[in-house]
Amino acid sequence: MGFRLTMIGAAICIFIFYFALLASLLFSTTLKGFWESLVHPSTLFSIRLSLIAATIATLFAVVIGLPSAYALSRFQFRGKRIVDTFLEIPIIMSPIALGASFLVFFNTPMGDMIQRKGIFFVFEFPGIILAQFATIAGLATRLMKASLDEISPRYEAVARSLGSSSWQAFYRVTLPLSFRGLLAAVILSWAKAAGEFGATVTLAGAMPGKTETMPIAIFTALASANIEKAIVLILILVFLGLVALYAVRFTGKIYRYD
């Protein structure tokens, strides 16, 4: 077989592999069953909970991640390498390990105090946000750093020589220039947060009508042999993911400046 054909063949195989997987979902449900499961209050609750939690978690990740990304991209400081390495922690740590670590932490005197005097996280809604935030903060920072790296620091240098303070130079020059990349980072982080399972279920539990996000609902639906509901939730997750991916592609296609 020719070289080109082999390579393209492999690419097509991967596509068929995933496509068949998704197609099998469609064939295992009926339109009526699909609709009934979709409008069921518990399904709608999971969808809403996931969307809200992922959005808040992403917001926090941006608030802390964007300045961190900027610092890592532009400044030299002591311990920079270590900070950079620790961004990978959620990637090398299994999500369930991350969630378990939180449970352990909230059992320490300090964690206990935070829960008693501040917010309750364990088996509560804030726990979902915390688990999702922990999973995506490193990734969000890493992705935003990558898009800031692409913008030459020279733009800011010139802006400053023209009278902008460092804050002004950031929001008038660097921010608009890296906006597309930052937006893509946010969308991907959000999608990852929405799909998070391991850390969330460990920290916040799987309580229907309280902490049951979409991925957790899929798990419980399967456990109770409610295949129809599981399929609905999977398809919605896939749909959200595809929309997010498409949005990322789309942000890359806006050539505003030329």
Binding site: R154, A157, R160, L162, G163, P176, R256
Partner: protein
């Protein structure tokens, strides 16, 4: 007057100690040095992007070293220009005036005349991505000049341009300077650039200021061998002062066994017997003598007999590579085309050459 004193930078393996420079108001000053000599780091220190270990910078009476970049009133055109891609040409140009909250009205006339001189009036609504290389340069220069900076810093403004655009920008910089008299410090590694544009230049090699002076001073009278080498001068020889000819105020230099008699005037510093010096022989001042013609008295001091090793045609002139027979010292001789045609030279031919007194320059 811009004054920098005692600028000291340690960064990685780069060491700069006590760098100083003075630029008069309205002067076009070149900071010249080979690539990688740390010139950009000096620029960044002046702008305030790099915090030097030590050093003071004055603009007039005001010391600006403690100020952040945005309060120094120093504009900067980097080598890559860094035009803001998300802003139109017009917005790029007005950036500095707007951030400084200056009223646009008071600048209208000035910016208008800048736009006219720079010929960018028809580009104002475009974005940088749609400009040609030369247009980008012009917009970047305009953006830097618009807020009337106290000092304009240019980083290699002519490098990486097509020859035709290079010429255009060179002319433009000249016009700009004669019409608006900005104080400019321009960093470059290209002496030719500096020669065409600069009033004054500072030659900066290996972290040291080797020479400061008017361009002709530097070009015709390089102070050190480093400067001469940087200028790309040919026929540089290390030699020793062998003797003094008191009667004529001349010195005898020994170059690889070759004895050359040099008048006192082109000798710099204290000359004494036994001292090591660098001799530079200007290629355009060496004469190839025509066979059979009587030799003028003034040329008789240094006549060499030798062979032509090679000849290259440089368009406007020819370079003849000549080696003297006895001591095998090699000279490059530059001959205008009309003289070359009269001389009937060829590779391998034996000729006599006169090193005229005007051809010598001796450095400590």
């Amino acid at each position: 007057m811009i004054k920098i004193e005692g600028l000291t930078i340690f960064l990685g393996s780069f060491r700069l100690k006590d760098f100083r420079i003075e630029i008069a108001e309205g002067e076009f000053h070149f900071l010249l040095g080979p690539t990688g000599s740390g010139k950009t780091l000096i620029l960044e220190s002046i702008i305030g992007l790099h915090k030097p270990k030590k050093g003071k910078i004055w603009i007039g009476e005001k010391e600006i070293q403690p100020l952040p970049p945005e309060r120094r009133e120093i504009s900067y055109v980097p080598q890559d220009l860094a035009l803001f891609p998300h802003l139109s040409v017009n917005e790029n140009i007005l950036y500095g005036i707007r951030t400084k909250n200056h009223s646009l009205k008071t600048y209208e006339e000035y910016v208008g005349s800048l736009i006219q001189v720079m010929k960018v009036g028809h580009l104002l609504k475009r974005y940088p991505a749609n400009l040609s290389g030369g247009e980008k340069k012009r917009v970047a220069l305009l953006r830097a000049l618009a807020p009337k900076p106290k000092l304009l810093l240019l980083d290699e403004p002519l490098s990486g341009l097509d020859p035709s655009i290079k010429f255009e920008i060179q002319q433009l910089l000249k016009t700009l300077h004669t019409s608006f008299h900005p104080t400019v410090l321009c960093v470059s590694h290209d002496f030719e650039e500096a020669y065409l544009l600069g009033d004054k230049m500072t030659i900066f090699i290996d972290g040291n200021v080797e020479q400061v002076g008017k361009r002709d001073d530097v070009f015709l009278r390089p102070r050190t061998k480093n400067v001469a080498q940087f200028l790309g001068l040919k026929n540089l020889y290390r030699g020793k002062v062998l003797a003094k000819e008191d009667m004529d105020q001349r010195w005898i230099l020994g170059i690889n066994g070759l004895r050359i008699s040099v008048p006192g005037s082109p000798c710099q510093g204290q000359m004494e017997t036994g001292k090591e010096v660098d001799l530079f022989v200007r290629p355009e001042e060496v004469m190839i003598l025509r066979e059979g013609k009587p030799i003028k008295e003034s040329l008789k001091e240094n006549i060499l007999q030798g062979k032509i090793l090679d000849i290259t045609d440089r368009g406007r002139h020819h370079i003849v590579f000549f080696q003297d027979n006895r001591d095998e010292v090699l000279f490059e001789i530059s001959i205008p085309n009309y003289a070359y045609r009269n001389l009937d030279l060829s590779i391998g031919k034996n000729v006599k050459v006169a090193l005229r007194d005007e051809s010598f320059w001796v450095m400590e």
